[in-house]
Amino acid sequence: MKLIYYPGCTLKNQARNFDVSTVSSMEKLDVEVEELDRWNCCGTVHALDSDNVMNRVAPITNMIRVKETQAKTEGMASEFMTSCAMCYNTLKRANIDVKQRADALATINDFLSLETTKYEGDVEVLHLLEYLRDRVGFDKLAEKVTRPLKGLRVACYYGCLLMRPKEVAFDDVENPTIMENLIRALGATPVDFSHKAECCGAFHTVGKPEIIAERTDKIMGSAQEEQADLVVVSCPLCAFNLDFRQDDAKRLNPDFQNMPVLYFTQLMAIAFGCDDAALRFDLHHIDPLPVLAARGLD
């Protein structure tokens, strides 16, 4: 299987661990991923003002790059995959928007007049989780597990971007279970917790980190109440907030207990027996090794 892969800016910076674990685990699943040539910013947050066409230019330029890659690669479908929840949401929403609004698409194509390829709404955006469920299959994925994550208690955190709005959701909006099903296939035990689809505070981390401290305390606290060993995410912004703002959460609430935050792809990489270079635990604030060691997974 061949697949175009869109990493996004943060996966090439602070979230290298998300990038390398995505690529390494796809290799183990015999999926040939090819990084999109000349990709640019996804748009980073879908603009909600309906008269805003400018902010759709970045995502649509990526669609054009996908068409160009597809045209010169045999056996490549007109689709691409991203593992970042923000990229997925922004790219998918822009795609839906221009498919529904021919005038906006015409304006964007006019603006991009130097491009030789025109966008015609003919590219599909996929999130890695839905690709794993619908194309690979969790049962097939389970066959590749060489190191089951036995005994590991995992709280799956969805945040806002994977399941809202419902037009982009690939599972139940209020109570998604796709990550839990993946975690089960890896041999771990998913734990349900009250704040799995609550917002982490997102970009307020820039100007109002005290808001993130309060959100982190609530979200991580609710996972701790269910005796989770760690939290998994699909968004580098959630990861930053829930991991790096734990010191602030501790200042706010002295009873706050530190807990590591991992990407779901890192758990796949461990379960598939990828080497340590695919995990990059050096990029974490709270070290995941002690809880993994306690379950014999170091």
């Binding site: 943060t10 309906s50 902010n55 806002c160 419902k166 609550e198 997102a202 970009f203 820039v206």
Partner: protein, 139 residues
């Protein structure tokens, strides 16, 4: 005798209401004030005007109160309100249109002053945080 209160059908802020409805693409009068948006809002505790109250003030064209509200900068567009509204009103879009009304007025009324952050604070932030904050809170 001078009246103390005059009830009139004239709507002084008709243009403002029309503009908000146009930018947001929402019909404000659809709201019947059930309050579900405010009940589920993760930022409600940081707001001075709750999401359902924002819709009510917008229906009435109370421009000054809305554009001065802290709430319009607190909303992070998590879309919990949108996905739970029984009347399918996109509350987050209404709030975005209020932010845009301030940010597009040509005076650079940026809510986030990115250059005032310390170099240390800026250096740890991932690009996903900085770019999304600037997209939402600066003109």
């Amino acid at each position: 005798m001078e009246p103390t209160l005059r009830i009139t059908t004239a709507r002084t802020e008709r243009d403002f209401v029309a503009k908000i409805e146009k930018i947001s693409g929402q019909k404000l009068l659809a709201c019947y004030q059930c309050g579900k948006c405010s009940a589920g809002c993760p930022m409600a505790s940081h707001m001075d005007v709750l999401p359902n109250q924002i819709i009510r003030l917008a229906q009435l064209g109370m421009k000054e109160q809305l554009l001065a509200a802290r709430s319009i900068w607190m909303c992070v567009s998590c879309l919990t309100c949108n996905s739970r509204c029984p009347k399918d009103i996109k509350i987050a879009e209404v709030i975005e249109s209020l932010r845009m009304t301030v940010l597009r007025d040509g005076e650079r009324n940026d809510y986030l002053k990115i250059m005032e952050l310390s170099p240390e604070a800026r250096s740890v932030l991932p690009p996903i945080a900085t770019i999304s904050a600037m997209r939402k809170l600066t003109s």
